[in-house]
Amino acid sequence: MLGKILKYEFKATARIFVLLYAVLMVLAGINAALVATRDVINSEIYSSVVMGLTMIAYVLVAIAVFVVTAVLIVLRFYRMLGAEGYLWLTLPATTEQHILGKLVCGMVWSCASALIVIASIVVVVTPFGVNDQIWHAVSNLWNLLILTGFQPTFWLVAMIIMLLLGMLYGILMFYAAMAVGPTLVKSRLGGSVLAYVVFYVAIQVVGFIMMYVGMLPSAPILSANMDIPMSDSGVVSWAAMSAIAPGINQVTLAIIIISMAQCVLFAVAFYLITRYYMKRRLNLS
């Protein structure tokens, strides 16, 4: 049943995303083509007005990709608890399947949107011929960090996992707010916004407490490694970097573990809230 829900969820959203992604990539391609031919055409109007306008259009569409992703994630769920609920919520599917269907679809489109924007940036930047330089600088920094005893690969993987977990609880927070909203005040929209604000404040407070308590054991390590000895010209020596690396790694690990724990806790809490309100307190208007 989950597979069928996903099929219709993707079908309903794909027609918008595919079009949006296509427009973004076409605009990126036009920008790249204009940059590649700027020396050939060599015109003031061409390089300032035409290139400027296409670049603005590209940036606006790139922003629109993220805005539309967020709006559609919210709207698909909001509509399910409104008029479309008369269709979807009377299908022989469980509440869990409905939530997961929307969630998986929302996660996939969020990741796709991020990747397509990154891909479009690569297309736009390539004709400038700086890709090699950027790549060189990044790999140099990367190697330097590894040589001095830091763990950039671990940081990167942890960051990607945290982004995904953050996305997960971010979407579930929207869902929970929309599920709880109608029980708070008469206006469904007003109630949902109110619930979202309450949840936002709650996660800030809980998040701060968790981070504060969780970081207490790391405080001595942090303070011991705060003073990085620099030469007069502001250059940090190899030895100084190597000396603080183990401490920084330890503190970073603590931050990563606490952040992940926060994300998992919030995701589970918002999922359970959504499920409870959809199962036990549903009142479709």
Partner: protein, 232 residues
């Protein structure tokens, strides 16, 4: 199965407003039941409670002995008084959706029904009139071999000429082992198809009887009895 639909002390309140007040009933399979009452009497609320779209404040409602869940939803074929398909969907997408989700859906029957109603299945919903959209939904709902059909104001939005057609569609297409509940305030139009009636007023069951016994008792049509009971 002796009871297909049952309500026990069923109450529904929205804040201070009471929509249903201690409603009790029990229906055996194979009947066509008219859920009759003036506007705001709780007909739609009752049907939505059976579908699991609302949660009871007190009491319970049971379909085949089960509280509303995904299991009961596979037994219930529900026609709401709202249009629920996305505007961009084609009629054939809706047919595919019902075929995908409901095992008891007879796609050929629905296609035939739509053909006889003159509905082009290649059209998108946004290009159809409201009346045609309602007919699409009715065709889909009546093409299931469900245990319980819940039809909320199925003739409310269509012209009198189409009403007979819709009622014939309902009578000729429902699973005769199942039960049909039709909610309406247009009693004279549907009286001829009903076996039993439930009169709802102010969220309470005012009267519940078979159509034959009602006619026998009052010597009048159900419509006339209704007008007498609910005289303003």
């Amino acid at each position: 199965m002796s009871t297909i639909l049952e309500a026990r002390q069923l109450c529904k309140r929205f804040g201070a407003a009471t929509a249903l007040e201690h409603v009790n009933f029990s229906f055996a399979p194979g009947h066509i039941i008219g859920l009759l009452g003036p506007n705001g009497s709780g007909k739609t609320t009752l049907i939505k409670l059976v579908c699991g779209l609302l949660t009871p404040t007190e009491g319970e409602v049971l379909v085949c002995g089960m509280q509303p869940s995904h299991q009961t939803k596979s037994l219930v074929s529900y026609l709401p008084d709202k249009l629920y398909f996305d505007n961009w969907m084609k009629v054939r997408d809706c047919l595919a959706l019902f075929a995908d989700f409901y095992q008891d859906f007879d796609r050929a029957k629905a296609t035939d029904m739509m053909a006889s109603l003159g509905i082009d299945t290649n059209k998108t919903f946004r290009t159809l009139s409201k009346g045609t959209q309602e007919k699409v939904q009715l065709s889909l709902v009546m093409s299931r071999r469900a245990q319980l059909y819940l039809l909320d104001e199925p003739i409310g939005g269509v012209d009198p000429a189409a009403r007979d057609f819709i009622l014939d569609t309902i009578i000729n297409n429902y699973n005769d082992q199942g039960t049909v509940v039709i909610s309406t305030h247009l009693i004279s139009d549907i009286e001829r198809v009903l076996d039993d009636v439930v009169f709802l007023f102010g969220g309470r069951v005012e009267r519940m009887a078979s159509v034959d016994s009602l006619r026998e008792q009052y010597g009048k049509s159900v419509d006339e009895v209704f007008r007498e009971v609910f005289r303003c």
